[in-house]
């Protein structure tokens, strides 16, 4: 029995047999050919390249979601159509008498080598594209393209070096048990999708591939973040028991899909979803969410060399809004620190990025980019029910500026004659203490408030949640945080406005009752947590918790509060 630590992407236990999907296996084959075979080998080259280009064309046609994906596939096509590629392969086959596989391998190894050494940060990530194309071509030549999943069944746990988002969707359809990758991060697009599908997955399991054989018994413990290879009988029995319990809970939860989220004492709570990328919409619809409470738009801006156009954004917002009809979607304008955008914006070095130019501040400093996003949103609003929300609001000032910009956008759109609908609810994120304190004024200037608990805790307690050495200071139930939520809700309700919570606190079972007792009207959680939180709402008697509220609000420490909830 061996245990390897990784980072858990989604909770839950998976038990199955290891199935290794190894890209690099395809590369190893060195063979010289005879002179008489040269002609045949070269025709194989032409035929296979032609087919892969045809296949890419089909993929490009069917990619309706993102321009980014389409661009990547277009660039893959270009790599195959490159005249120098053709020339080099013909030399390798005709003169050096390499077999086709070896010729291709040589070419791409050279190319990848060049790009790994290129001193230009916009190009170094091109290595992935060359790796992908080489893989696509070689696996087609070897006829393995369709056979990659031949041995994959309901019992499989896939082991890979890394995984692409489209691959996750494909394997999910195969009903596999789980997924481990040696590289990757918790926040990659692949991980986000796996999480929203509740598929047990670990990333960053260093050394896994070297320690495992195909078909070996395997357990993923997504709750504690490790894999167990060839577990002993007693360990296996222990996990089977956990698995059974989890399955029963899951089955119970699935029954809640069509049940309304109403508390025991009859208050209807709107339970919405947070999404980070458009692909998560499938899960939102599957779990019958009351809409999207937080549609993050950062994915459109980070990890790329250029800015998304208004048109590209419009298509994506429209697509999501249409799919959610009649439910609303709340789009949050870009919310990143400047550091993440340094390759597309002119960003000056900041000594303290968390207190620097981020969230709405970035938008107000780069008005042309902000206007593109606003225009895309109001145009998409013609096709659905969209609300818009702004991050890092510190007071009324930013809201007034934003409203002015929306007006300008509307005027410009009228002049161009493009259809739009700027009549939509505006919301402010409450995540800075100054916004909590002035939430009465803010509520007057907008239609709803949404509390982002992660940042609110971070800024209220002045603690960086990613800093291990001070993680003890990060306390969601610190009296200051609970009182801040109370103050915000009371101020908003006085003005007749609703309050949502879209931070991680809403996704944690143990805080649901407290948030509802504080008067929160809406919870927004990641799709994978929807049913768990719905169960919590249905089981909640708000009045019961509210009876304890005075006591909770007068607590001196978070420890005291935790005891009461």
């Amino acid at each position: 029995m061996k245990k390897i630590i990784g980072n858990s992407v989604s909770t839950g236990v998976a038990i199955g047999k290891a199935k290794i999907i190894n890209k690099h296996e395809l590369y190893i084959k060195d063979k010289k050919i005879l002179k008489s075979e040269i002609k045949f080998e070269f025709s194989r080259f032409k035929k296979n390249v032609k087919f892969v280009i045809y296949e890419l064309d089909k993929l490009i046609q069917n990619y309706t979601y993102s321009k980014e994906n389409r661009d990547i596939l277009e660039s893959h096509k270009m790599i195959l159509q490159d005249p120098e590629f053709n020339k080099r392969i013909s030399i390798l086959i005709l003169e050096d008498q390499n077999c086709l596989e070896q010729a291709i391998n040589t070419y791409f190894t050279e190319a990848i080598d060049i790009f790994s050494n290129v001193n230009n940060k916009y190009l170094s990530h091109k290595v992935n594209d060359f790796e992908d194309v080489a893989y696509r071509l070689l696996s087609h030549i070897k006829g393995e393209r369709k056979d990659v999943f031949v041995d994959v069944d309901e019992n499989s746990i896939l082991i890979m070096e890394n995984i692409s988002p489209s691959f996750v969707t494909t394997v999910f359809d195969k009903n596999i048990q789980g997924l481990c990758t040696e590289r990757g991060s918790r926040n990659s697009h692949s991980s986000i999708i796996a999480r929203s599908m509740n598929l047990p997955m670990l990333v960053n399991t260093m050394g896994l591939l070297g320690n495992i054989k195909d078909g070996e018994d395997l357990i993923i413990d997504g709750n504690d973040g490790y894999v167990i290879i060839s577990p002993t009988k007693s360990v296996l029995e222990k996990y089977k028991a956990i698995y059974k319990v989890e399955q029963n809970i899951q089955r119970g939860l699935l029954k809640l899909i069509d049940i309304e989220s109403i508390t025991k004492d009859g208050k209807k709570i709107s339970l919405m979803s947070n999404i980070e990328i458009p692909q998560e919409i499938d899960q939102v619809l599957k779990y019958n969410s009351a809409g999207i409470g937080l549609f993050r738009t950062e994915f459109l801006f980070i990890d790329r060399d250029d800015l998304p156009t208004e048109e590209e954004q419009y298509e994506i917002y429209k697509n999501i809004a249409e799919q959610c009809i009649p439910n609303p979607i709340t789009i949050r304008t870009i919310d990143v620190g400047g550091d993440k955008l340094s390759n597309i914006l002119n960003i000056t070095y900041e000594q303290n990025p968390n207190l620097g130019c981020r969230g709405i501040r970035i938008s107000l400093q780069n008005v042309p980019i902000f206007k593109q996003q606003i225009k895309a949103i109001v145009r998409a609003n013609v096709h659905g029910n969209i609300k818009i929300m702004f991050p890092m609001i510190s007071g009324v000032n930013e809201l007034l500026k934003v409203k002015e910009i929306i007006k300008i956008c509307s005027k410009e759109l009228i002049n161009t004659g493009i259809a739009f609908n700027a009549d939509m609810e505006l919301g402010a994120m409450i995540e800075i203490p100054s916004a909590v304190i002035t939430s009465d004024s803010i509520a007057e200037e907008c239609d709803f408030l949404s509390i982002g608990t992660n940042d609110l805790i971070q800024y209220t307690l002045a603690v960086d949640r990613d800093n291990q050495s001070i993680s003890d200071y990060y306390k969601p139930t610190h009296p200051s945080v609970i009182r801040s939520i109370k103050l915000t809700v009371d101020n908003a309700h006085k003005k007749g406005k609703k309050v949502a919570v879209c931070g991680e606190m809403a996704s944690e079972k143990k805080y649901v009752k407290l948030l509802l007792a504080l008067g929160v009207d809406e919870l927004s959680v990641s799709p994978g947590r929807l049913l768990i939180i719905k169960k919590e709402i249905i089981d909640c008697d708000i009045a019961e918790m509210r009876a304890k509220l005075d006591k909770i609000l007068s607590c001196k420490t978070s420890k005291e509060i935790n005891k009461l909830i």
């Binding site: 270009m78 790599i79 490159d82 120098e84 060049i114 290129v118 916009y122 091109k126 390759n343």
Partner: protein
């Protein structure tokens, strides 16, 4: 044959997107097209070639076209450079 020297004026330099634009445009023409950067010369219709130039902001390139439609090819490519590949 036409030769034309040009400076890279878009801030990000010759990254993946401009490279793709150049190759796409050049491929439409029948003329041969090469790009020279100091001691390096590459095929301007090859995505691999254009990207390996890794030309940064401010660096100088020589565009060389040779063939029946060389004039139009150079014209279109030069325009792209001057428009900073639509970046700003």
């Amino acid at each position: 044959m036409i030769r034309k020297t040009i400076k890279i004026v878009n801030k990000l330099g010759m990254h993946a997107r401009p490279a793709t634009m150049i190759v796409k445009a050049a491929t439409k023409y029948r003329s041969e097209f090469r790009i020279v950067k100091s001691d390096m010369e590459i095929n301007g219709k090859s995505i691999m070639g254009v990207m390996t130039l890794a030309a940064e902001f401010g660096s100088e390139l020589e565009l060389v076209a040779d063939g029946v439609d060389e004039k139009f090819l150079i014209q279109e490519i030069v325009e792209m450079f001057l428009n900073k590949f639509g970046e700003e």
